[in-house]
């Protein structure tokens, strides 16, 4: 199993495109305003403390000469398409994990770890050859998916790290629990309460004790560290949810403005839903306030929906039924309970007409460009909630049958 992780991907693509930005601290921002967030920083920027998630104003304080540019999603997506097409030349089992990571199941393409290491080096050179000399990657090689990702996470930039039975314990020794993929600081506290302080302790812990204290996540983490196969490289599936969020440049209680922005988010989510030929039986809306706090509301629908107007109407009922009395800084919406379009007609609603209208609008916007035709409520919203790269991961937990089999295997 191989896991490839492009190093400082967004910044590397920008430095590849513009050689005058190389070897300099560079931050790729969602927005260039003072409160804009840095979504990708170069290795040089990380060295001066400018990391992903840093605000633009904070980055300039840390290093006044930092180069800041606005992100360009089409550039990163194009480069990702090229890189994944290169990976597809080495194996037919490629699972894109995110825009800059992928798993490769190399079973049948290499006989041992030595051959895999040579292939990994070849993949790195092939990417540099095709995508550009600045496109560096870390590759992790192991017998399981989890260990391969762990290896690439801890590997140095532009290097290959192999984890096998011989070096696993030496790598895990004295390594912080949060270095493991899937353990955050909250989980770390729970492990420390059980007397587990590093990853080697966790590997050598009693799995029964972990199962009783922490449930299945505790057992799965032990199994992952011990090289047991929990999940395999899988093909991308349909998403379980589709949603969009937006940090508002104008913090306000103005319902007209808020509804306009929310309509645009619903339109973008609706387009993605219809592109995948899905319908949704659940809608959620989220609001964040300037002075802190917020709320999330959701509703399960009796009849699935797919057109933008219906989606917006549900979100409107959830979030905007009353005038907000605090300024809002963040809006998000989410569609869940997704399923393929059933074609089931409704006695209560003329869904066929709605479906045909939604499809016709999509055809026009696909042909002539986004926002060629749009509802009046979205007037003036063209510059808001622009296209951004999502950070969605495609990991699925094992299904119920697999969980039961694994747990029974242990107990027996």
């Amino acid at each position: 199993m191989l896991h490839i992780d492009m190093n400082s991907y967004f910044a590397s693509v920008e430095q590849q495109a513009n050689p005058f930005l190389r070897n300099k601290p560079l931050g790729v921002c969602a927005y260039l305003s003072k409160n804009g967030c840095i979504i990708g920083s170069s290795i040089e920027a990380k060295d001066v403390g400018i990391k992903t998630g840093c605000r633009v104003a904070d980055a300039v304080k840390l290093y006044p000469a930092v180069n800041l540019i606005e992100n360009e999603p089409s550039k990163y997506r194009s480069t990702t398409t090229l890189i994944f097409s290169i990976l597809g030349q080495y194996t037919d089992q490629v699972e894109p994990y995110s825009i800059d990571e992928a798993f490769l199941d190399m079973t049948g393409w290499a006989n041992n770890f030595n051959q895999l290491e040579k292939q990994a080096a070849e993949i790195q050179n092939h990417i540099k050859d095709m995508a550009g000399e600045w496109m560096r990657s870390s590759i992790g090689i192991a017998s399981t998916r989890w260990l391969a990702k762990f290896a690439s996470d801890i590997a140095e930039p532009d290097s290959v790290l192999t984890i096998n039975e011989d070096n696993l314990e030496s790598i895990l020794k004295a390594r912080s629990l949060t270095d493991a993929w899937g353990i955050n600081y909250r989980m770390e506290r729970r492990y420390k309460a059980l007397g587990i302080h590093d990853l080697l302790d966790l590997k050598q812990a009693d799995p029964g004790k972990l199962l009783r204290a922490l449930g299945k996540p505790g057992y799965f983490m032990w199994a992952n560290l011990n090289g047991r196969t929990i999940d395999k490289v899988s093909k991308p599936k349909d998403p379980k949810t589709i949603g969009h969020s937006y940090c508002l440049p104008k913090k306000t209680t103005d319902l007209g403005y808020l509804k306009g922005v929310m309509y645009k988010l619903c339109e973008r989510a609706g387009r993605r839903l219809r592109d995948k030929n899905l319908e949704s039986a659940g809608v959620a809306g989220i609001v964040g306030f300037v002075d802190g706090g917020g709320y999330r509301k959701h509703v399960r629908l009796g009849e699935p929906i797919f057109d933008t107007l219906s989606i917006f109407e549900e979100v409107d009922k959830l979030l905007f039924s009353t005038q907000p009395n605090r300024k809002i800084r963040f809006l998000a919406m989410n569609l869940f309970s997704l399923r393929p379009v059933s074609g089931q007609m409704s006695w209560l609603d003329n869904c066929l007409q709605k479906r045909q209208l939604a499809k016709a609008l999509d055809v026009i916007n696909n042909k002539y460009g986004d926002h060629t035709i749009y509802p009046g409520q979205m007037f003036g919203m063209q510059g808001y909630a622009r296209d951004r790269v999502g950070y969605r991961k495609t990991v699925d937990l094992p299904d119920q049958e697999e969980i039961t089999t694994l747990v029974n295997e242990y107990l027996n």
Binding site: F20, Q89, A110, Q119, D129, G132, N366, Y368, G369, D370
Partner: protein
Amino acid sequence: MREVLNEPIEVLVSFLPSQALRRRREDRQDRVESRAQKTKSIADKKSHPQINGPGRYNPIAPLLFRWRQKCYRVDKLNLVHSSRDGRDKIYYFSVSDDANFFKLSFSTKTLGWKIEELYTEA
């Protein structure tokens, strides 16, 4: 210094589809051979031809362009990417010479070239 522009330019391009297709055929042949010999040492597989950079499969590469009555020669093609605006597919060529970076765009709808961005080392 970074400047965002959107001005039409005249471009001289190299258009060598035969070379790009030849490289694509050679790489495909390499992959077929390596799959047929997958039990043998894969490290012995023929390495890719030494044609470097993102221009490997791109049959089009801008060589020279005229902007504001001045000719600029392209020394390096750094990145090629594309985006869609409706049915219009736009190709972006990130090119540079010794002192400047240019982002050029080609629209497949209008068949026109534009200069989108200029970056100059101060």
